[in-house]
């Protein structure tokens, strides 16, 4: 770095380069794209709304003392008896839709994130095991992955729900079972490439333990593609949970996610009361789009072939 400085390169530029850590480079690259920045901002707003739902909601939609059936099915913008406004209307029970959406967002995002974390850990363990040890174990694991990935996710999730029964924990189990295969495949293919590189050979020559090689050397270098897949899969998990809940096979009524809110409005749609299904759907859509936009940009930023 410090040998020959070409006359064209200004010293200021050089020093700027020198302090740029990989992390800072990724952050800078990420925000270079306005669309990605928009997606990230939107996602932050949604997560904020989800976390602080009890504080920012006009009412607690599941506190029976605060809702009244008399206010049921009011169109958006109606006045509430307490003096406020139902900006997004009310559902059949007289719940403020805006509050219900904040609470629903909370459950949807939580279920998506939790199932992604579990699936990530299991897939990571399976993929690394397959890649590092190889042999029959690898054949077995990858064959299961292949068979599973040849079926649509909704079908596998439905089979599992049919087998496991319903409930929050079971829905998460089904989502994890559907998703681990994506991570296993991604990690394995990344690890197979990294395994042949010289630093792994060097680590082996130093007689480091297999665990150390796998976790300290192999794993960090497999992370970039994994982060991209994980981001996409959070969105997929949220969409899948919403679909299952819509079909009446997802979360119980005590955990009203966005999918359940939409399902609840289905029966009123035909009589023109669109808002009960429409607005939760918009919230779901915004969540998925914002995550996908972030994932799209991460893919470009983390791809070493596209680096400057």
């Amino acid at each position: 770095m410090n040998t020959v400085v070409t006359p064209v390169a200004t010293p200021a530029n050089e020093s700027e380069r020198a302090v740029e850590t990989p992390f800072r480079r990724i952050v800078n690259d990420f925000f270079a794209n306005p669309v990605a920045m928009f997606g990230f901002g939107l996602l932050c707003v949604l997560i904020f709304a989800a976390i602080f739902a009890p504080l920012i909601s006009p009412q607690n939609p599941y506190d029976l003392a605060q809702i009244d059936v008399v206010d049921g099915k009011l169109p958006p913008g109606s006045k509430s008896p307490a003096g406020g406004t139902f900006w997004l209307g009310t559902d059949d029970q007289g719940r403020d839709m805006l509050s219900a959406i904040f609470y629903g967002l909370r459950i949807s995002i939580a279920v998506g994130a939790i199932s992604t974390v579990f699936a990530l850990v299991i897939g990571l363990a399976m993929g690394l095991t397959a890649a590092y040890f190889g042999g029959r174990l690898e054949t077995l694991i990858m064959r299961i992955v292949d068979i599973q990935l040849s079926f649509p996710t909704i079908l596998i999730a439905l089979i599992l729900i049919a087998v496991l029964g319903q409930g929050t924990g079971k829905v998460i189990t089904a989502l994890v079972a559907v998703q681990w295969a994506y991570y296993a495949r991604t990690v394995r293919s990344a690890a197979l490439v990294e395994k042949r590189k010289e630093y792994i050979e060097a680590a082996k020559c130093l007689a480091l333990s297999p665990a150390r090689i796998v976790f300290r050397h192999l794993l960090p270098n497999c992370l970039p593609p994994l982060i991209v897949v994980a981001t996409v899969q959070v969105a997929a998990a949220i969409a899948l949970e919403a679909t299952l809940s819509f079909l009446g096979l997802g979360l119980p009524i005590t955990e009203p996610s966005l999918g359940l809110l939409i399902a609840n409005g289905y029966q009123y749609l035909l009589s023109g009361k669109y808002w009960i299904s429409f607005f939760p759907g918009i919230a779901l859509l915004l969540t998925i789009v914002s995550i996908n936009l972030v994932a799209d940009q991460l893919r470009d930023v983390l791809n070493p072939r596209l680096q400057r």
Binding site: I154, L158, I159, I161, F246, L269, F278, G281, L285, L293
Partner: protein, 326 residues
């Protein structure tokens, strides 16, 4: 080639067997269908008679063996709810689902490939960019919600199309009941089919665009242009043919996914297909129908995958079918 087909068929039988075992044990381990099927007022004798008539008094392995025995003869058990053959129930519903999936695939192809080509040939144009932005939306929109919104706009607000059900059916070749031969049938079909097509439409647009983008940089395209061929011939013959290989594979593989995702669309539009039958069966714990549905679906998937592999090698002479694949 023949060896490949034989090997794959053998593998498929093993997969089917393992699936039947897993699904059977899994499905039979949950819930008690008797609680749903028999009224709580029934006395003990009635209860026991019903349990015996459904074969639920035998141990699980005996139930599985008798199921397997029947399955080999084409009998997948009798529905608890409808008390007819489970397989017959599914076969009756199959044409509706197939029609829906085929219609969706046709919509995705006739819109997706031209739009993708357009976006690939003019990536910087406004049209190209909007097509790509639209395709991101196609991936992100939850299918069931789009279905609801279609109903809201075209049935409730505009009143143009019926919101649910399948139109009148006409027997095609005196065998298969189809609804696309009448105007009313079309009206019922178009909305669910469009809904189901959206994801694949987005996928085909992206795939075609990426293919066109790549093909335009290849030497054979430059050579074709240097020869003085018309733009139309370069795109229509040289570019399109080379794009088609991955596109055909994806179309084939996605057809299975369409049948799977039809479950959602059928529920939204009350379309009387296999998927709706599955959801109803899960709700009623109608075990034989669930098991039969899954075995039928797995068989369909295995056949589709095999056909796609063979088609792939036929389209691309560089691909040789070997034993390692599959």
């Amino acid at each position: 080639m023949l060896i490949f087909v034989i090997r794959r068929s053998l593998q498929s039988v093993i997969v089917l067997f393992v699936m039947s075992l897993l699904v059977f044990v899994g499905v039979y381990a949950v819930g008690n269908p008797i609680d749903i099927l028999i009224s709580p007022q029934a006395d003990q004798i009635d209860r026991e008679r019903a349990i015996a008539s459904l074969g639920l008094d035998k141990p699980l392995w005996a139930q599985y063996l008798s199921f397997l025995h029947g399955a080999l003869g084409g009998d997948l058990g009798r529905s608890f709810v409808h008390s007819t053959s489970a397989l017959k129930l599914i076969v009756e519903r199959m044409p509706a689902t197939m029609e829906l999936a085929l219609a969706a695939m046709v919509i995705a192809i006739i819109l997706g490939i031209p739009l993708g080509l357009w976006a690939g040939l003019r990536p910087q144009s406004v049209a190209g960019r909007s097509i790509m932005a639209g395709s991101i939306l196609g991936f992100s929109l939850p299918t069931f919600w789009v279905g609801l919104m279609l109903i809201m706009v075209f049935s409730v607000m505009l009143g143009w199309l019926p919101s649910n059900g399948r139109g009148p059916t006409i027997e095609l070749f005196g065998l298969i009941p189809v609804s696309f031969l009448s105007l009313d049938g079309w009206k019922h079909l178009i909305m669910p089919a469009t809904n189901l097509a959206l994801f694949n439409l987005a996928l085909l647009i992206r795939l075609t665009r990426a293919g066109a983008h790549e093909a335009l940089l290849q030497d054979y395209v430059k050579f074709a242009r240097a020869k003085g061929l018309t733009n139309r011939r370069v795109i229509g013959v040289h570019v399109l043919r080379n794009i088609l290989i991955p596109v055909v594979t994806v179309i084939g593989l996605q057809f299975g996914a369409l049948i799977g995702f039809a479950i959602v669309t059928e529920t939204v539009f009350a379309w009387p297909g296999m998927g709706k039958l599955l959801i109803d069966s899960i709700n009623f714990l109608d075990r034989p129908v669930i098991v039969a549905y899954l075995l039928v679906i797995v068989t369909i998937f295995i056949v589709i995958n095999l056909v796609v592999d063979i088609l792939y090698s036929a389209l691309d002479p560089r691909v040789r079918l070997t034993e390692t694949k599959g």
